[in-house]
Symmetry: C2
């Protein structure tokens, strides 16, 4: 693929970054990464973002853990990422698909109660019913109690980081099952410790 590399159909990936709004942002990011076990995922970091790939549960486990470990410092921290599954393309990192399903960071993440606010958007590709797929998945967040409202181009979730990531993961995984070998992406902007008044 010219200009766009993806993955095999069942590998899940996220390309993301965590932004601590502080002079010591490098220290906060490095500190967070030191707390996170990434041994069950393929990881590559460059000067713009980090890409994590593997089984769905480990991709979400690692993304959540990095955000929570950075946000627990109390600094205003934002996670921004795009999750992807089913993108036609190469197979680098396939070896991680044979890992078991035990999440390595869940216990540590559960110990932190970080309040967060999120805008997310689901993009089911090549699917004429995509608006219905999105509407159906929003019902999952309503059921979880994390859904706050629709905004232009996105939906808003509020809750703890653990609750928000649980909603995002369930919506993403369920959306990927609406079609054979579905290619689905999901953007998420997750903010903690913002000095702005919550708009919910």
């Amino acid at each position: 693929m010219n200009g766009l590399s993806c993955g095999t159909s069942n590998i899940v990936g996220v390309r993301f970054a965590v932004y601590p709004m502080a002079d010591n942002f490098v220290e906060i990011i490095k500190g967070a990464l030191k707390e996170v076990d990434t041994s069950k995922v393929w990881v590559q970091t460059d000067d713009i973002t980090t890409c994590v790939r593997g089984r769905s549960e480990h991709v979400f486990d690692v993304a959540k853990a990095v955000f929570i470990q950075a946000a627990k410092t109390g600094t205003h921290v934002v996670f921004n990422g795009t999750f992807s599954v089913g993108c036609p393309g190469d197979s680098e990192g396939d070896t991680y698909m044979s890992e078991d399903d035990i999440r390595l960071n869940e216990e540590a993440s559960r110990q932190e109660s970080v309040e967060a606010a999120t805008h997310f958007a689901l993009y089911p590709m090549d699917n004429p019913d995509y608006m219905q797929v999105i509407a159906d998945q929003v019902k999952t967040a309503e059921k979880h109690g994390t859904f706050t409202k629709g905004v232009h181009y996105a939906s808003r979730l509020d809750g703890t980081a653990n609750e928000i990531f649980a909603s995002l993961e369930e919506m993403f995984v369920d959306a990927s099952k609406t079609k054979e070998r579905a290619h689905v992406t999901m953007t998420a902007t997750i903010s903690a410790n913002s000095p702005s008044t919550k708009d919910n």
Copy 2:
């Protein structure tokens, strides 16, 4: 639409945030906004992101200007946003579609030479040929000299912020013309003044 509000078919929007990695991030953001003329676009800011909607040229003009005005401080600043056109939905902000095409911030933006690095991804919705649409648009960035390489789930651009936004705008607008009333979104993570070594 339950949980997802969009726009009329020809209105363009971007939902974005600019992240200055500094203790005085509020001051940097407010300072940048003070330099940007937003009188030709609909703007709404909450505690997570800012949404700008209107004619394509003004949406890109304002997004670029906010990023450049924040990045010219020399602080490590990242712009993260999703551009959207053709999303079925409401019509709030339609009044801005009657503005002329003179960009209010282009002159000020042109005066700054901010080096930047970008990951972007195009999502042409409900289109079986979407991978070809993406590949075709990447050729535009190659022609501009901004394209660096494909990475998992995205493509990398390098250049000045002015060059990068020109490529993003052309690719986005051209992709939106590949189909009648096309719904296309484009994510972009644009980084300036990063302390990390460029991976290009």
